[in-house]
Point group: C2
Chain length 386, copies 2
Amino acid sequence: MPTAEINVFNPVRIHFGNGIINMAGEIAKKYSGVALVVTGGESMQKTGALERLLKILKDSGIKTFVYDGITPNPTCDEIDEAAKMAREKGAGLVIGLGGGSPMDSAKATAVAAKGNVPVWEYLKNPAKDALPVITVASTSGSGSEVNRYSVMTNPKTCEKPGFGYECMYPKEAIIDPEITATMPPFVTASTGFDVFVHSLEASAGKAANVFSKAYSLQAFHLLKNNLEKAYNEPENLEARGKMALASAFAGLAINISGVGIIHGLEHPVSGNYPKVAHGAGLAALAAPSLKYNFETCKRNYMLIAKHMGVKRMDKPDDEYALAFIEKIGDMLKAVNLGLRLKDLGIEREKLPKIAKEAFTTMKFAMENNPVTVSEADALKILEASY
Amino acid sequence: MPTAEINVFNPVRIHFGNGIINMAGEIAKKYSGVALVVTGGESMQKTGALERLLKILKDSGIKTFVYDGITPNPTCDEIDEAAKMAREKGAGLVIGLGGGSPMDSAKATAVAAKGNVPVWEYLKNPAKDALPVITVASTSGSGSEVNRYSVMTNPKTCEKPGFGYECMYPKEAIIDPEITATMPPFVTASTGFDVFVHSLEASAGKAANVFSKAYSLQAFHLLKNNLEKAYNEPENLEARGKMALASAFAGLAINISGVGIIHGLEHPVSGNYPKVAHGAGLAALAAPSLKYNFETCKRNYMLIAKHMGVKRMDKPDDEYALAFIEKIGDMLKAVNLGLRLKDLGIEREKLPKIAKEAFTTMKFAMENNPVTVSEADALKILEASY
C-alpha cells in the first residue's frame, strides 16, 4: 500500500475537553463580530446548550443570530433559508451547534451565503469560497465536526447526497463531553454506531491508506466498551469523552478515505424516509453488508476484532472474522439497535428505488467499497436487511 | 486521559508517492514565481536530487536560487545568510530540500527573511509571519517535513535549541521514496532511529494524548522490520516508503506532544560536538534513558513491544518490558548503531556541561519526560551512556 500515492490535508483546529465550550467566544472572535448559529428546533433548546453558547458568545461581544430550522435530515430549502439569514444579518461566521445535521448544514450555509444561487447548485459547481465555520458537537457520531462533508436532502426528489469542498472545512471544532452528555440513549446509540461504520468503511475501502487506518484504529479503541457505557451511563463523562474523540477520529478517517456500501445504501433509505435516523438505517444494513464484503475484508475484520477485544481463542481465520460480525450484532442489541429495515417503516416495494439511487447520489461510496457491487447485489443486501 | 484538554492542529498538505517530486513545480507555483531552495553542500548534489528539483521548478516557470550552505547541525549564521539571500533575490517561497537540517533551516529562513533581526532573536520574540515553506524530504527521520519545528545551533555558545511557531508550518510536504532511496546506510540508520525515538517520546511524555498515540503507533507499525530492511536493501522502495511514512507519523506525533529526555540530552551532545549525527547521539542515550523511565513507562513499553512484534511468550510484565529494551538494542546493533557516547568522541569531562545545558535549551523536553528528572539524574544517564 505505501507505494500508492497519498495526499492528505486537514486544517481544522480541534479543541476537546470538559467545559471547553467556554472558549467558544474567544475562538469565534478571531473570525467575526457577527455570527449565525445554525441548529435544530428542539434538543439544543431543551438541554440548554443553545442558551449557554449564546451567552458565551455575547460575553465575548459577538452579535448572534439563530437559525433553528434544521431538521434531522436537513433539506436544501432549510439551508437556503439559513444562508439568506446569514446574508441579511451580515454574519461573518457560521456556527453549527448540534449533531451531524446542524454541523453539516452550517458548512453548506457558509457556502451558500457567499453565493447567490440555491445551495443545490453547488453539487455540480464546486464552491471556492465560504464563510468561516465553527462546529460545536452535541453528538458523537457524524464526524462532521472535523471534516469538510455536508449531507443534504432534496425534498422534491428525495435525493440525499454528500458534498465537501476545501472551503468547507470548519476553522475550529469545539468538542465538549459536557455537551454530549445530554444526548438521550437512542441518539447516543444511533450516532455512536455511525462512528463504528465510518471507521470500518474508511479503513477497508479502496481508498484506505495508512492515515485513515491509523485514525480508524484509534476510533475502534475508543469506541470499544464506551458505546455501551455511554448508552447505559449517560452522565459518565469519561465514556462520553472517549466517544466524542472516537467520533473525531472516525471523521478524520472518512475525510481521507470516504465510506462504502453501508453508507451508500443508507443515504437513499433516510433520503426516502426522512424520519429514519441515519444510525438506525446503518444498523439495519450492517450485517448483510459485512457479509457481502466478507472474503475481501476477512483480514481487516480480524484486525478490527483484535482491536475491539474479541477473543480469538483457537478460532481459525474464517470463524474469527465471523465472530467479529456477531460481536457487532451483539453490540447493536446491547444498545437496542437490533433493527431490520422493516422495523424502520421502510416499504419493501421501495427497495429497488433505494438500490438504484445508491448508484447516483452515493456513487463515490458504492465505488469505494472494497468489493465491486452491482445494482442487483445492492438489492440483495437490502432484501437481506429487511 | 480523554478528560484532559486537547488542542490539535496541523495544516500541512502531505503528498507521498514514488515520483511525487514531479509535482513540486505545480505545488510551488501556487505560492510564488521565485523560490529559494535551501539545502546542504553535498548529498543532494551527489544524488542528483537538487538538479532534478531545479529542473522540475524551472519547467513550471519558477525562478530559483539555491542556498547550499546548510551543515549537518545548522547554525544561526547559516540561516541568517540564507534569509539575506531570500530577501535580496525577492524569493516568495522557501523550499527545504534534504534531511532534517535543510528542512528545519528552510522554516527558520522563512521566518528570518520576513524580519530584519538575526534569527536567534526569534527564540525570545515569537514570529508572527514567515514566507511559505515547502519541504522535500530526502531522509526519513526528523519529521520536520510535516511539523513546525526547527533546530539550530549557536556556534558561539554551542546551544542547540528547537523552536516552532505557527507561521512555520510547511504549506506542503513532498515525501518521495525515490528521493530517500539514495540515503547511504549510516544516514538510513541514524535518521531512522530518530523516528523510533520521536514515536516513543511523543507517546510516553506528559503531554501525550490520543492523537500523538495514534500517530506513534502507526509509526511503530511502519518502522517494524523496515528500518533494517531499508538499511540492508537501500533500493527497496516499499521499505523506503514505509520508513518515509513512519517519519511523517512520528513528526505529526511530536508536533502534538513533544519529546523527552533522550532528545533533551542529545541536543547538547551534538550542540557541543557538531559532527555527531543526531541519530547516533540518540542511539547512545537510548537504553539508559529507557531504563530511567522504566517504572512509569513499563505499560507503554509493553504496548509498543506488542506493536513492534516482540513475542510475549509467558513473560511477566517486567520481563516483557525489559525484552522491549533489549529488542531496541538488537535493532540498533543490526544497523550498526550499537554505540556509546565515548565512541562518538564525546569527552567525559564535558558530561556535566551537557547535563546542565539540557535544562536550558531543551527545558521543555526535560519537563515533558514522563519521570521527573534532575540535573544529577541527567548526569547519571549520560555516565551510563558513556
